[in-house]
Symmetry: C2
Subunit: 330 residues, 2 copies
Amino acid sequence: MPPAAPEFALIERFTRALPLRGEGVVVGPGDDAAVLRLRPGEDLVATVDAVVEGVHFDARFAPADVGWKALAVNLSDLAAMGARPLHALVALGVPAGTPGARLAGVARGLGACARAHRLAVVGGNVTRARELSVTVTALGAVAEGRAVLRGGARPGDLVAVTGTLGDAALGRSPGAPAALARRQRRPTPRLAAGRALAGVVRAAVDVSDGLAQDLGHLCAASGVGARIGVAELPLSAAYRRAARGLADPFAAALGGGEDYELLVAVAPRSLARARAAAARGGVPLTVIGRFVRGGGVEVVGARGEPVTPPAGHDHLRAQGRALGRGRPRR
Amino acid sequence: MPPAAPEFALIERFTRALPLRGEGVVVGPGDDAAVLRLRPGEDLVATVDAVVEGVHFDARFAPADVGWKALAVNLSDLAAMGARPLHALVALGVPAGTPGARLAGVARGLGACARAHRLAVVGGNVTRARELSVTVTALGAVAEGRAVLRGGARPGDLVAVTGTLGDAALGRSPGAPAALARRQRRPTPRLAAGRALAGVVRAAVDVSDGLAQDLGHLCAASGVGARIGVAELPLSAAYRRAARGLADPFAAALGGGEDYELLVAVAPRSLARARAAAARGGVPLTVIGRFVRGGGVEVVGARGEPVTPPAGHDHLRAQGRALGRGRPRR
């Protein structure tokens, strides 16, 4: 029998830190594919996202932060659909010479996030690559026909958002306060809020690219426009302090990205129920504007003046920024 | 509304080449996650695999070959489980300056493979990266409880393999005959054979790391050993011609990897049925040895002498080879 390749030692070490058994897992990692058994009457919800060194994380991230974030950004998509997480598959790109301890740290963080949200890692893959990357596919379940889509907003609905905005974007700066840096490195997927809001809101999207851009996606999918006010944006105390010295104190909240909050469309008559649902999910829900006929996102400044929203966090441009290769090109 | 980021233009261009609708697809790409509706009585089968520039493909690959291979290697895992493919999610890592035409070519090849096997691409992600990579998650279905696992082989069962071995490995050489190069670039997942064999064989694994290594995996999962003979290995005419000048003419077939054939355990009394099933799937099935009590893989040479099987294709070492960084280290 051939000697065990380093690939398999690595996989075993990585796998040991992960929860591998869970609801519906007939066969987990180790075979050609996982076998999963879902219940009748449920729809499966599936999403994939990657975190890449130099784009979504840098040397300031602890390995465990990388693993946590790789899974959390996927769970945020499940949260927006109103789904509960079930399973994840993890594909690693690993540069030559990566210390085993670094990968073990990634696995620990990913495992911690998986356990916190009670999902099983059911499969994976590892390959050589030039930079460390973690690509996660997350599978979740939602009652048949009850997934919350982006396309349900109607003119007159309220634009509302969970939690606070812009913390993660300000958390990218070297020397950012710990509370902000933590939101960048350890985002909290709003799963409980997403599930509680599922029967109440008309549409939802998670804020990953930046509020203005993701609101634009929701508007486009719904065939409506939106008008929001910067004075209404929910900002944390840490954000307010950090933004004091900035030329545009609202830019990070409007377009910084990586917030992983939920942006929803709520019929005015459902607002109290929506607030209560979000509260059951552990987050406040703040109304920041209204959906209107037409298209596009209009932003109104603190003194009523029109504001041009920033372009948002573009994952294709991000590396240029993160690696200091000068101004990103359009 | 912020201007559309280049990310979204790229996604749209990529997506246009892919089949997006299919069985059970309630919501495809464009929302936070796909929504999929499976039938009761079926198990979901899920697997993830990546192809990375310089590891699994190089400059000699047409972009469409890259896309084809990225999906095909995943479908090979579904084939080994006896599953039929349903859906795929595609995560792209894209270097700065990648021509749009290259990505469109990748999408075309991926789309061609998806259409050939009647599956829908239901989601995806794109991020900046230092090398081009395509990570595919494939979802398939199998009748409840009927997935073919690696752990079912028993002493006395026959070791059998579909198609021919080693073609893809010899196809890696510069100037390799077209028939061999094609097997490297456009592997054919044995889906029809896998489904036909599902009720007949006791265990299965797909040959991706090399025959000896994957047989070792099957043996370990089953708690048995295996004895195979190099004289029995199914070799194509093109392989025999190309291998004539090599010091070890069997090395590529035993350990070259990337064959994407199915290696199965067959009870002797089921052999005729297994051959017929494979034939219905369009491939021959060749008996190459027997499972035995104990553990490990024993290889017997053409004159009955013991052969040390090669270590197999290690995806963590492969890049060192492909990029010409000298001898790979253990």
